[in-house]
């Protein structure tokens, strides 16, 4: 029976496109330092979601958009 760690390593092998052998990495290795790209990390995230039937929360809060970006030009700001 495979452990969660084994499943994660299998997913990294299939979707991580790492520049080093997964088997050589410690469990707490920094994946980005070992060649995981941002796009490959998206694939890994989606594969983990499917494998473990979970959904990663998106760190995006609507309440952080209460003030606009791009910001108002300074002359308009001063009138508000």
């Amino acid at each position: 029976m495979s452990s969660i760690t084994d499943d994660i390593r299998e997913i990294l092998l299939s979707h991580g496109q790492m520049s080093v052998a997964i088997s050589t990495l410690d469990d707490d290795a920094d994946l980005y330092q070992n060649g995981l790209t941002s796009h490959a990390s998206v694939n890994v995230m989606l594969a983990l979601e499917n494998n473990f039937d979970i959904e990663f929360p998106i760190q995006c809060c609507e309440n952080q958009r209460s003030s606009p970006w791009p910001p108002l030009p300074r002359p308009l700001k001063s009138w508000n």
């Binding site: 796009h39 998206v42 694939n43 995230m45 030009p73």
Partner: protein, 152 residues
């Protein structure tokens, strides 16, 4: 006649660059095959987490160029993440959103929004180009020193 020495020109340029205007740049080159891989394995799950409804509608209408278009959009988000120096941030649409196709507009959220405010960035301009194998994007921002929320 006034002689302008190279030293004087250099000093003037440095002063102007340092105190009047600063530009932040982010660039990304992305392999179309990476996006094809993701589309094949994750389909709509990938599309909806990374891209917005406008982009998804565009690729549904232009299926022959979908992967190339999406690669350009991914590269654009990544270029913005690099411009903002968000280490290891995954450029999902929830962080960096884009609107428009011919003229692309950037909308920031969450951590990206905080970083832009902190740096005093008021506008990010994007240029995206595609080939059959790669897409590339450059993001450029004028930094408004007076609007800056923290140290450069």
């Amino acid at each position: 006649m006034t002689m302008v020495t190279p030293t004087a020109i250099s000093a003037s340029t440095r002063t102007s660059h340092r105190y009047s205007r600063r530009v932040e740049v982010g660039v990304d080159v992305h392999d179309v095959h990476d996006v094809v891989h993701a589309l094949c394995h994750f389909g709509d799950q990938y599309l909806t987490r990374v891209f917005n409804e406008e982009e998804i509608a565009h690729v549904r209408a232009h299926p022959l160029t979908d992967a190339v278009f999406l690669t350009g959009r991914y590269a654009a988000r990544e270029a913005v993440v690099k411009l903002l120096r968000l280490d290891n941030a995954v450029p999902l649409r929830a962080l960096v959103d884009l609107s428009g196709v011919a003229s692309v507009r950037v909308e920031l959220r969450g951590e990206a929004l905080d970083a832009a405010r902190h740096k005093g960035i008021t506008e990010i301009l994007l240029s995206i180009d595609h080939g059959r194998r790669f897409a590339t994007a450059i993001a450029v921002a004028d930094v408004d020193n007076l609007n800056q929320g923290g140290p450069p």
